[in-house]
């Protein structure tokens, strides 16, 4: 992948037509990572039914790979159990996108982090009951 020129076809598809964009009102879990100062900010909303991510939405401010990885992570997580979704890593996201330029790897990190933060938020709320 080190010699790849530009973004992969897959990244561009997700960038141009991102999946699962938007918000969920009163979500069961919400995760927000990044910072507009750094140039990347993403938030993920999840709806959970019987331990499964039934619906997932995202909104992202950031570069092409930040948007594509957000879209991809929502695709990967949708329909998964929370345990399965917690195991999705930045490398999984990058691999599914047919690779990312090396210096963009931090962006895909964020998308998985936002997903994990949303799941953690759901679990914290459950504990509080």
């Amino acid at each position: 992948m080190a010699d790849q020129i530009g973004y992969s076809q897959k990244v561009m598809e997700h960038f141009m037509n991102p999946h699962n964009v938007g918000v969920i009102e009163n979500p069961d879990g919400y995760g927000k990572v990044g910072n507009p100062v750094c140039g990347d900010l993403m938030e993920i909303f999840i709806r959970v039914r019987e331990n499964v991510i039934e619906d997932i939405r995202f909104r992202t401010f950031g570069c092409g790979s930040a948007i594509a990885t957000s879209s991809m992570v929502t695709d990967l997580a949708k329909g998964k159990t929370l345990e399965e979704a917690m195991k999705i890593t930045r490398d999984d996201v990058a691999t599914e996108l047919e690779g990312l330029p090396p210096r963009k790897m931090h962006c895909s990190n964020l998308a998985a982090d936002a997903l994990h933060a949303a799941i953690q938020d759901y679990r914290d709320k459950q504990k509080k009951g």
């Binding site: 973004y7 561009m12 960038f15 141009m16 991102p18 964009v21 927000k32 507009p36 100062v37 750094c38 140039g39 990347d40 900010l41 993403m42 938030e43 909104r59 992202t60 401010f61 950031g62 570069c63 092409g64 930040a66 948007i67 210096r103 963009k104 962006c107």
Partner: protein
């Protein structure tokens, strides 16, 4: 598919067709080292000399020998800053540069700090014009070299170079001007403007890449950065890049010849582009509204990020630039946009369009529509 529209002439210029025609006139089998005295060598010497005259002519230098050829503006800036500072260090060890100089000026200046020089950055106002009072305070009799570019490649602002020169010369210092983006686009006259050293890029004049020039006012002493043979007055050793130098010379001649008409034509396209784009909600012009390069339009858009603007525009067939951190090698926000007072998140949403010979007024509506569509698409995704 619609034809592509290229709006990143500040990054790379197409070679002018007249330069290509000129280059083709070199005979097959052309060789010749200008350091030799037989026929072929003299032909090569002649080609370099003609190029020197043409480049000197473009920037108003009366002595062609005051032009040395380099590998590009980065090398010219390095020689100008490093070579001038080191050669004149007896006078003092202070360097002053505007805060929005190109990194090929700022980095050699920062590097000299390791050799005991101090570097003071002169601030600019919100339009990117260097603050003359602050510059006056920064430049002292110990300042060996002050570097202020003629115009900025990210925001298009043209500097009041004659006033800058007066300040620098009042204090007995030398003024280096990176004229890369200005030469061939607005009249640059080293003698009228009071410039001691001026950097030029071959490609930015419509010539090939990998060649540049440095004007050094006769009498100004500069120490070599590279050492080797004595070519280019010892300041740029190594066999001359004869073909590229000759082509740069022709590019300079053509740029000078076409400047009045082309700058008027591009200014009109630029103005309608700026008018159209700034109609978009939360879209703002960056840089100076009037004191700007005729081919340069630069913007920022709130709540969206520049690399995604660039990618989305590319998908619509249009090449633009951005000062976004995400496109830089260092992943740092543009020092130029921060210096004009933008917050980090504002600096991320920039888009730069630089026009050239192939652009026409007919393209403006399509460009503006593409920007509108791009901004709308990205704002629909943003959480901000």
């Amino acid at each position: 598919m619609e034809e592509r529209i290229y709006l990143d002439h500040a990054a790379a210029m197409p070679v002018h067709p007249g330069v290509l025609r000129f280059g083709r006139q070199f005979p097959d089998g052309f060789a010749g080292n200008p350091s030799t005295i037989y026929h072929e060598g003299l032909v090569a010497q002649e080609a370099v000399l003609r190029a020197r005259e043409k480049v000197a002519g473009l920037v108003g230098a009366s002595a062609p020998a005051s032009i040395i050829f380099t590998s590009g503006a980065t090398e010219s800036n390095n020689i100008a800053v490093r070579g001038t500072a080191l050669r004149n260090a007896k006078k003092g060890k202070r360097i002053v540069a505007s805060a929005i100089e190109h990194i090929s000026v700022l980095n050699p200046a920062k590097d000299l700090q390791k050799s005991g020089f101090s570097l003071t950055l002169a601030p600019v106002d919100r339009y990117g014009t260097v603050d003359l009072d602050a510059l006056g305070a920064a430049v002292t009799p110990e300042t060996v070299v002050t570097s202020v570019h003629y115009a900025n490649n990210e925001i298009g602002t043209v500097q009041p170079i004659r006033e800058v020169a007066e300040i620098v010369h009042d204090r007995g210092g030398l003024l280096h001007v990176d004229a890369t983006d200005a030469a061939g686009r607005i009249p640059v006259d080293v003698e009228r403007d009071g410039i001691d050293l001026a950097s030029l890029s071959g490609n930015q004049l419509g010539g090939p890449s990998g060649v540049g020039a440095l004007y050094i006012r006769p009498g100004v002493r500069v120490q070599p950065v590279l050492v080797g043979g004595g070519q280019e007055r010892g300041l740029r050793p190594g066999t001359e890049n004869v073909f590229s130098i000759a082509c740069m010379g022709e590019a300079a001649r053509l740029a000078g010849e076409e400047l009045p008409g082309e700058s008027r034509r591009l200014r009109a396209i630029r103005d309608s582009l700026i008018a159209g784009v700034t109609e978009i909600e939360e879209a703002y012009l960056t840089g100076h509204p009037t004191e700007r390069l005729p081919h340069h339009a630069s913007f920022r858009f709130s709540r969206i990020e520049g690399e995604s603007i660039q990618l989305a525009m590319d998908m619509l067939g249009i090449a633009v630039a951005t000062g976004s951190a995400c496109t830089s090698r260092t992943l740092e926000a543009s020092h130029v946009l921060l210096a004009i007072g933008l917050a980090h998140d504002e600096a991320h949403g920039s888009m730069v369009a630089t026009l050239g010979r192939a652009n026409s007024p007919d393209e403006v509506p399509r460009i503006v529509r593409a920007v509108e569509e791009t901004v709308k698409r990205l704002r629909a995704i943003t959480p901000l």
